[in-house]
Amino acid sequence: MTKIKTVADLKRIKDEVQSKIKLRENSDHPEQIVQVKVGMATCGIASGAKETMKYFVDELEQQAIDAVVTQTGCMGYCYAEPTVEVTLPGKDAVVFGYVNKEKAEEIIDVYIKRGELIDGVIPITFKTIDD
């Protein structure tokens, strides 16, 4: 296969894909999708949030879990970065702290797939010392 170097090469890939797949109807069932938001402000990035996001994108796709992975800003838990907010369909959002690859794997295997909570949740009632 030739190297992909131009938008025309990309288009060839796209056409191949388009003929193979049935377009996923994500937007029609937003309530059934797992939402993962990775904290990506200065604090998150400095702590490796990009690797965490990459892991979630790759792994959720690998395991064929219907999910949307996006970036979000700083949630104020800079000490616990990278932080990840996971919203399972029909449930409240849960924020996890110190999410490296190992933690991300645990979140996917235990929380997202089985719905069981794991250690490392930042309670929503948490307040900083100033509040």
Partner: protein, 182 residues
């Protein structure tokens, strides 16, 4: 921040929060004058003089969630630490231009890093923003424009595995040809 791409990922968030619809990331490497320039330009809301003056103060932020704002401060520190300079210009209602110049050969000049992931992940979270990345060297230049990519995709998702891999491969192949990366 360890790499230029991490700085970009960070600085671009400022533009996103400024409601920009067009963000340009331009890296210019010049062997002759030994300069390595990073420009992030947006058409967001901009900021007035008094906020602009505070923007590289690490103890200033427009956020409510914390009391420090290190993004621009860290970039300024890295640029100045690599014998370079840092400027930020902004016009309220028109946009902001951040420019960091590094001495290209300086040991403390951060490497480029995985800029393709920066471009892709920023776009994945902000598909409505037109995101342009341009890299120039003495050997030539490469540009990727999200508008061109979305027009070509004709509705096929950017997050589709094959599409993602192809887009990232395209950026890497072009950067290799420019000898920006090995």
């Amino acid at each position: 921040m360890k790499t230029i791409s991490e700085h970009v990922l960070d600085i671009v968030q400022n533009s996103v929060r400024a409601k920009a619809t067009l963000i340009e990331i331009i890296v210019n490497e010049n062997k002759e004058n030994n300069l390595y320039t990073l420009v992030v330009k947006d058409n967001g809301c901009g900021m007035p003089e008094e906020i602009l003056r505070q923007s590289t103060n690490p103890f200033f932020t427009s956020r409510k969630t914390r009391k420090v704002g290190l993004g621009l401060s860290l970039l300024k520190q890295n640029a100045e630490g690599a014998n370079g300079s840092f400027t930020i210009d902004s016009v309220p209602g028109e946009g902001t231009l951040v420019k960091a110049v590094f001495q290209k050969s300086h040991l403390d000049r951060p490497p480029l890093g995985d800029i393709w992931n920066t471009w892709y992940y920023t776009l994945l979270s902000n598909p409505e923003i037109r995101l342009i990345y341009k890299h120039c060297t003495g050997a030539g230049s490469f540009e990727i424009d999200s508008k061109e990519i979305f027009d070509m995709l004709e509705g096929v998702s950017l997050s589709q595995k094959e599409v993602r891999e192809a887009v990232i491969e395209m950026i890497i192949n072009n950067l290799k040809e420019l000898e920006v990366i090995n």
